[in-house]
């Protein structure tokens, strides 16, 4: 086993353990150092692994894993008893029964439990670098949290354990192991969401728990059906080796359901929206680098097997619907974090859709979206934390005049939103690739393709409107204060924000290079055949897809640069006029509009449930 890999698994676990007991003086340098070390390790692994690395663990570890599985489910049962949640109780019992049955019938042969391929290393980079940055940010954030010293330490420890669990999830090949790690992330997010211990937190934590438990049950059911149909080893590798075989569609559908639940797709979006009650670093963590990113990961891993199947078509329909539905729901939100959460769900839908279509270009699109969404969302959520702690703002409608009191935060948030929306940022490229490849889908599956195209393009338009609405608040100011002085938010906050800002800018500047040397090899490994990326003149070719770079470049100067310039430009030779107020002398307070789309949400959920039923139905037929 690769030495660096070992570090990725054990370092977070050990650091988490130390953080639990170490005094604050030690924990600060320790967190910074280990975050750095994890990032370096992830980079080293990325460069050292080009062919899939398989490795197994000794037999006693298997027993240990089984024991841990049972223990964790026992804990869930205990939670159910303590919180008097019948749902969690039933689900835990079902999980326990399923697990015991599977353990009993598991063939004893030597199997390879772990596989690290390019997709895993791609995820390592995202998980470790972004979560590391969040960990450093959290050092300061959690200091200001009102809770006991031990719980602060527990929070930091949990964060590192979460990173460890994520590293394990993306390298598990054996589905039983995958189940354990999958549920470990569920456990971690349950503890995180319930961290503040008030009634709402506890309630939302329980919601997150039972929804994700359903995902766990889906995985167990998938394992059961693989064994039942006699395909032997319950590994991803084995599953992919039997692509197209009879009776494997159902396990694939079940695993996709697990992914869709983790990815908070309708009707399971409630758990992610409820997660907002937790301290803000948790949101940053769940949204950008961990937890929800398991969804595109699973779909990408399965994409060679599910593409062109009816299951994939249902997933495409569902995610297309989720994309526009969550964009519409986002319009009614005022809480800044909830706006971000809805847009996460929408973008996740797009990633999952691209993974499910599974052509080389769509896989590139999915990977581009996973990475860039991770960086941008992390930056936005950390800023939401700063808003909360430094400026005491939670509602977006209160954010007017932020450009006067906190111009730097306003600037960074504007860049964050632009990086989710405008050319030439990665998220735009991802959306562009999606729309163009959906066209290819539309030439075969006409009606579905047309509807999904409308959903994605329409949802995109609605989301851009939403982002501009928030940017409008960030840019709002009077003409009296023309002097700009950037605020000081303290070393931990500003350092992390600077790093993220740097990442956003570097990745956008190096996008053509990244596409060739970073995304294309990963996509090739996922798809199983090389993905050619060519840079010819002013065009970038990915397979047969052409991205014209010249309009992108012009659009870059016209849009993002314009908005940034607008914040800084000062015309010297124009006279000033006061705003027209009909002669009134009142100080108005400005807010933003929102639409009451709440009434539509039950219908959205109902439609989501129908899609899930359809998913199972097509797999059974």
């Amino acid at each position: 086993m690769n030495f660096y890999l070992t570090g990725l698994y054990f370092l977070p676990l050990i650091v988490g353990g130390i953080l639990l007991i170490a005094p604050a003086k030690i924990s600060r340098p320790l967190v910074i150092l280990s975050s750095l070390l994890l990032s370096v390790l992830a980079l080293l692994v990325f460069f050292s692994v080009s062919e899939p690395v398989y490795f197994s663990v000794p037999h006693y570890v298997s027993q240990l894993v089984a024991g841990a599985d049972v223990l964790m489910l026992m804990y869930f049962l205990w939670v159910a008893l303590q919180r008097k949640s019948l749902l969690v109780g039933i689900l835990s019992v079902v999980q326990l029964a399923g697990l015991l049955y599977i353990l009993k019938n598991l063939s004893g042969g030597e199997t390879l439990q772990f596989m690290v391929d390019r997709l895993s290393t791609f995820m390592f980079l995202l998980i470790n670098i972004i979560s590391g940055i969040i960990a450093v940010f959290t050092l300061r954030y959690i200091d200001e949290e009102e809770c006991s010293a031990f719980r602060k330490k527990f929070f930091m420890a949990l964060l590192f354990w979460f990173i460890g669990a994520m590293n394990l999830v993306v390298s598990a090949d054996n589905l039983e192991y995958f189940f354990l790690f999958f549920e470990l992330t569920t456990l971690a997010s349950f503890l995180f969401i319930g961290f503040r211990k008030d009634a709402v937190s506890v309630q939302n934590a329980i919601t997150a728990l039972w929804m994700n438990q359903l995902g766990g049950i889906a995985i167990l059911a998938a394992i059961f059906f693989i064994m039942y149909n006699g395909y032997g080893e319950i590994t991803f590798t084995n599953l992919l080796a039997h692509t197209g075989a009879d009776g494997l569609l159902l396990p694939l559908a079940l695993l996709s359901i697990a992914a869709l639940i983790k990815g908070a797709q309708l009707p399971f979006s409630k758990w992610l929206l409820g997660a907002m009650v937790a301290p803000t670093p948790v949101s940053a963590l769940l949204h950008s680098s961990t937890m929800v990113k398991i969804a595109p990961f699973i779909i990408l891993r399965l994409s060679p097997a599910i593409k062109d199947t009816p299951v994939a078509m249902v997933i495409v329909g569902l995610t297309g619907f989720v994309f526009i539905a969550s964009a519409i729901s986002a319009l009614s939100q005022d809480n800044f974090k909830r706006i971000l959460a809805h847009s996460t769900i929408a973008l996740l839908a797009l990633m999952i859709m691209m993974g499910a279509i599974g052509t080389p270009v769509t896989i590139v699109a999915a990977l581009v979206l996973v990475l860039f969404h991770g960086i941008s969302k992390c930056m936005l959520f950390l800023n939401a934390g700063i808003l909360e702690r430094v400026f005491h703002l939670k509602q977006s409608s209160d954010m007017d005049r932020l450009s006067e009191s906190g111009p730097f935060t306003a600037l960074v948030m504007t860049i964050g939103f632009m990086s989710l929306l405008l050319p030439p940022f990665g998220a735009f490229i991802g959306k562009w690739l999606s729309i163009e490849t959906l066209g290819a889908l539309a030439t075969e599956k006409k009606l579905l393709g047309a509807l999904v195209l409308v959903a994605v393009a329409g949802g995109g338009a609605v989301l851009s409107l939403l982002y501009f609405k928030v940017m409008g608040l960030l840019i709002n100011r009077t003409g009296e204060k023309d002097q700009l002085r950037f605020e000081n938010t303290g070393p931990y906050y500003s350092a992390t924000i600077y790093i993220l800002l740097g990442l956003v800018l570097i990745t956008v500047a190096g996008l053509p290079l990244l596409l060739t040397y970073y995304f294309a090899p990963v996509a090739a490994a996922v798809h199983g055949s090389p993905v050619p990326v060519l840079n010819e003149g002013w065009n970038l070719f990915i397979g047969t897809m052409r991205i014209p770079l010249l309009p992108m470049l012009i659009a870059f100067f016209l849009l993002p640069v314009t908005i940034l310039l607008a914040m800084f430009i000062r015309f010297r030779h124009a006279d000033r006029a006061k705003e027209y107020m009909c002669g009134e002398k009142i100080n108005y307070s400005f807010s933003s509009f929102y639409f009451s789309t709440d009434r539509a949400i039950p219908y959205f959920s109902a439609a989501g449930i129908l899609f899930f039923i359809a998913l199972i139905a097509v797999a059974l037929i």
């Binding site: 047309a450 409107l465 840019i475 003409g479 015309f571 006029a577 705003e579 400005f590």
Partner: protein
């Protein structure tokens, strides 16, 4: 090279042609009301007058965004006329409008804010229809390239008549014509976003409206494909229709507008799309 001559000329002269269209429109509208109306070149006289005014602004952010609205709209128009990707064109157009909305939000003026909010709602009202038209065109041509549409032998009008009607229904929203001119509504919110612009800065917003004329009439022209005669006919018809409607209808509020465009125009375009994708 000849293929590019006409589009490039159109792009370069777009503000001038747009100004002429506007001037002509004022005459036609006046004649409909049995007035004589201003001379054809009145918009340009206004233009020169504005250039001579004292430069005033609320703050630079606001003024600059107004100018960039004009520039980015021109760019979107250029991509459209050069046969670019229709989705990209719609997106660029959306963003150029968004810059103006952003300008509206950037000041602390109530009317500016009201106008920006209403403009955002207008975008929500017409954008879905434009997107469906783009997707319908894709289903017919197998590509989003407008170059293919301009070269197409059979006019799109025959294949997507309902979409054309839908376009006619949302164009008044886009061009801020009665009954869908809530975004501007001079009597109510004194021009909305435009209010806080003056002098040279207003010039940009003012001429951007002329560009919008060219943009919209090009969209209409798309439905005729390479049949130039039909295209001119469609444009003339749209022109008369818009002005007659503007003259004869009263303003509705934004809720009615949204309900109408999403209920009627969107449905029409959607039915057309389904028919196109099933055939």
């Amino acid at each position: 090279m000849n293929d590019y001559l006409i589009p490039v000329l159109l792009i370069v002269l777009a503000p001038v042609i747009g100004g002429l269209v506007y001037g002509f429109e004022r005459i036609v509208k006046a004649r409909m009301q049995r007035r004589i109306g201003p001379p054809l070149l009145q918009p340009f006289y206004d233009f020169l007058k504005l250039a001579d005014k004292r430069q005033m602004m609320v703050h630079s952010t606001h003024a600059f965004l107004g100018i960039m609205h004009f520039v980015s709209l021109w760019f979107a128009l250029a991509v459209l006329l050069l046969g670019g990707d229709l989705i990209l064109v719609i997106f660029l157009h959306l963003l150029s409008t968004a810059l103006l909305i952003l300008a509206g939000y950037s000041t602390r003026s109530i009317f500016s804010h009201l106008g920006a909010n209403r403009m955002a709602i207008s975008v929500l009202a017409y954008e879905p229809v434009l997107i469906i038209i783009a997707v319908s065109i894709f289903m017919i041509n197998g590509s989003f390239d407008t170059a293919l549409v301009f070269a197409g032998n059979e006019p799109l009008l025959y294949k997507m008549p309902l979409a054309f009607i839908a376009l006619l229904l949302v164009l008044p929203i886009k061009l801020k014509k009665s009954p869908f001119d809530v975004a501007e509504a001079h009597q109510e919110i004194t021009g909305g976003v435009e209010l806080e612009f003056s002098g040279l800065f207003f010039e940009a917003v003012y001429t951007a409206k002329w560009l919008d004329y060219i943009f919209c009439y090009t969209l209409v022209f798309l439905f005729a494909g390479s049949n130039i005669l039909l295209g001119l006919g469609l444009m003339a018809f749209t022109f008369l229709y818009l002005n007659a409607l503007d003259n004869s209808s009263a303003r509705v509020n934004y809720k009615q507008m949204l309900r109408f465009s999403l209920g009627v125009a969107f449905t029409l375009a959607f039915i057309n799309l389904i028919i196109n994708s099933l055939l």
